[in-house]
Subunit: 270 residues, 2 copies
């Protein structure tokens, strides 16, 4: 089964475009868990997955939050991935990038060692650094196109050939999709740009859309401009607002409520 098929299956089954970011963070974790559990982070992730798995289509694990724990972090990453039901999309968000023979090692690590369904890749090195990921035909590589952060404009909005750089990147992504399954990362914080990029990338390109909630992205516009004509092929990410919504014993139920709320909010506009 290829990535797009797997994505559509779970989107239909759970009637959801919600992607939950499992971005563990000591400072934001429920204190009682840190005090009482021998494996607080794994216990936390297990509880969040168990409570939200029927409300979402994907989990995204940002590798920075695991890497910071050293080798134990990678053990935690492995164990967390094992908790995720097989039908749900797993995105390893590492924004990896390197020259060809080295990018190949990253692709091997993410797709084989950790068995991700999808990864995020930074395009600054051009196709050499992307191709080794695209060779995994049943997987998906979400290429950074227009990121959600304020200083994205430093380079991504510079005019080149009469258009902002992110449009040129989008054109390349469309081209690279002929080699292997591409997606694009486009922030919800810039709805007009999201609209333009969906226009360039067409109906079938999955978009990973961070930036709603605390970062300020609007849900209605995100759905309107980010999805395709069938209101699909978008994964709308929320991390902190869902997983760290509660800090007491009932944290997992509160996270489920938040994920359900976002699922319904998104579906209002589909």
């Amino acid at each position: 089964m290829d990535f797009r098929e797997k994505l559509l299956n779970i989107v239909h089954e759970n009637d959801s475009l919600v992607c939950v970011g499992l971005d563990i963070d000591k400072e934001k974790m429920p204190k009682f868990l840190l005090d009482s559990s021998k494996q607080p982070y794994l216990e936390f992730n297990k509880a969040i997955i168990e409570s939200t798995k029927d409300s979402i289509c994907a989990y995204k694990l940002n590798m920075a939050f695991y890497e910071v724990f050293g080798k134990e972090g990678f053990e935690l990453l492995e164990k967390t991935i094992k908790q995720i039901p097989k039908e749900i999309i797993i995105i390893l968000d590492g924004k990896r990038n390197d020259i060809g023979n080295t990018a190949k090692k990253y692709a091997e690590s993410l797709f084989e060692t950790y068995e991700a369904d999808a990864v995020t890749v930074n395009p600054y090195l051009g196709i050499d650094g992307v191709k080794p990921f695209l060779e995994y035909k049943d997987k998906c590589s979400f290429i950074l196109c227009r990121t959600s952060n304020p200083s994205a404009v430093d380079f991504q909005n510079l005019k080149t050939q009469g258009r902002p750089l992110y449009e040129i990147v989008a054109e390349k992504i469309k081209d690279w999709d002929k080699i292997g399954c591409c997606g694009a990362v486009v922030g919800a914080t810039y709805p007009d740009e999201l609209k333009t990029i969906r226009g360039i990338l067409g109906e079938d390109m999955p978009l990973l859309i961070p930036g709603i909630g605390k970062q300020g992205g609007d849900v209605e516009k995100t759905v309107k401009y980010g999805t395709n004509s069938r209101h699909e092929m978008a994964l709308i990410n929320s991390s902190r607002e869902i997983i760290f919504a509660g800090d007491k014993e009932d944290f997992a139920e509160i996270s489920r409520d938040k994920a359900e709320f976002l699922r319904k909010e998104i579906n209002k506009y589909r």
Copy 2:
């Protein structure tokens, strides 16, 4: 002691601008080691470090080659770093990049967990993704500017404001250096561009220069255009050509000969 001072000290002590990439790779390792040793990669790295440490100024560890081994890879990374004498520069080459609160985790991981002296950072997200690294004032962040691979031109050479993008990135790097110590990654494969970038970045900016040897970069031009007026502030990297030069019991001596040859070749033009 800050990064530039540490770099100058070891460059003077060893009279060397050579940076050796410890990019372990199962397919290129001496077979006898893989067959005979319980910890072949660690033993390999120890032997290479022991034999080359007087010929070089820095070791660069590309994280992809460690990450591919999963959690054992990060243990190996830690143990390898412990083998490197304190006066030698350690560069963790991960080309990391993310939005602010996440980039902070990467910076913590690389500078605190692994105690790197320097890292490589991808600039596509702008200053938000770079600043958390720059807050480690005694460390150095080498920002990707003009990479050594063929498809670097896909985006880095696009004309914007009448100049190629890599020049605009170089201007930003010079600006960011006011916040905290920046360096730049510039491939040896494009000597004219190396010259332009050194011109923009000025005397004191350390350049990390990959791309000599197999990738085709010329040593004379690299030294001429990549160093400053005192023939310093450049770290000229070689990985595979040095560490995998031999595959018998004497592999470490052969690597030392290769490193010494490169050191002298570089110094001919200083």
